[in-house]
Symmetry: C2
Subunit: 243 residues, 2 copies
């Protein structure tokens, strides 16, 4: 039977922001990298899928952190595939600090993209290789990704998707959307200590040259975002809550 895989990560200076703590982006980046490492180690990674013109893309993601770690903190990220169906594969994570205390948890849901047609494909043909790694008995450590409520924009920022925003999947990287949203927050919210939850929904992809309109509204302890692609439909929705 499969067991969760554990990856150590150290917070380096270049992972920290001006508050001298790891930024939310750094932590989510670390978690997503671990997803990549583990998928590759199991022969289910992007490089393997690319041979068949397929790739993994993040569909929904949620994370809860008790606090943002500081420089030289050593964490362990434990990950396992929790479930999958025709459309989505769910991968879970717990984050443990050096004293062994769980300081965070995350749930990610992935779909498989046909890189030629740019559309999601059925995951069921994976069954043989996949099912042995699924740990259905180990529940997700936090509530699954929630939908952000609709966003009546109080603030708006426009950005044209450029080379440095685009990743190996030829679309805007999951973390760049988040950075564009974090950039709209007042610094007083960036500087908050205490627990935080982030929910991200990736609805449609932005590609090089697209105009991204980032809408933001603050409702008490919740920041709500909606990134619109080329003035028409939502590309990414997000909710950040200070708990």
């Amino acid at each position: 039977m499969s067991t969760p895989t554990i990856y150590p990560i150290t917070i380096h200076e270049h992972d920290t922001d001006y508050t001298h703590r790891a930024s939310i982006s750094t932590i989510i980046g670390g978690v997503l990298n671990v997803a990549g490492f583990d998928a590759n180690a199991k022969g289910l990674g992007v490089s393997e899928l690319n041979k068949d013109a397929l790739t993994w893309v993040l569909s929904r993601f949620s994370i809860e952190l008790s606090y943002l770690p500081k420089v030289f903190d050593e964490l362990q990220i434990s990950t396992w595939i929790g479930d999958y169906n025709r459309l989505l594969s769910t991968r879970n994570f717990t984050i443990t600090d050096s004293s062994g205390s769980v300081m965070g948890g995350a749930v990610s849901q992935w779909c498989m993209l046909d890189t030629t047609l740019r559309r999601a494909v059925d995951l069921t043909p994976l069954h043989k290789n996949y099912s042995e790694f699924v740990l259905r008995d180990l529940p997700s450590p936090i509530d699954r990704p929630r939908k952000a409520p609709s966003c009546e924009a109080q603030f708006t920022h426009c950005h044209k998707a450029s080379y440095s925003d685009i990743d190996f999947n030829k679309h805007v990287n999951s973390l760049r959307y988040l950075d564009l949203m974090l950039d709209m927050l007042p610094l007083s919210l960036i500087e908050q200590s205490g627990a935080i939850r982030v929910d991200l929904q990736y609805i449609s992809e932005c590609i090089h040259g697209d105009l991204m309109t980032v809408n933001y509204t603050q409702q008490e302890n919740r920041a709500i975002f909606d990134i619109i692609r080329n003035g028409s439909a939502s590309a990414v929705k997000c909710m950040i809550e200070w708990l």
Copy 2:
């Protein structure tokens, strides 16, 4: 006697761009991270300096690469302090591929910043701790950083320095300036194979909220950039040459 220190790096999927090669930013980021690791290991790192309200900031940087490595390539970065004077410390790098061939070299020049006064300080008081690590007999692997010629802007892009641009030193991160410049290049230049040289001069720092005007001109095989801070003086100059 001190010897160069060697750090292994692997190119992961998240390090690659849409051409499925490591981006120039990734490689320079890897080199700068190695500088940080080595300085920390020698007790001369940012965390040590921060105790005295000091930090290292990059002043000039040049790199030559025979090619951009691809996913899963394993490189070794060798680094040593080549020299220092009152104002600047020079750190050199060679980059070797898995077959042992040198595929790149870099030279970085650093000054020490007083984080309260935001100005450079004299490096000579470091002498006792520093001189034992200096390898004056080992020459820099490539020509030292060159000044970019003046830039008559053919293209201009404006960007307001935001949270995700700012690093632990409370100013725009060295790599973000580079990304803003790379974002202006036509994709045909991003897709070029073959050798490349980048020269960067960090003249004055941009901080949160600053307006950065990125000026770009292409002169045959050279891209020349000048980033102006708040419409007044140069913050960063850069020249990229396809060799």
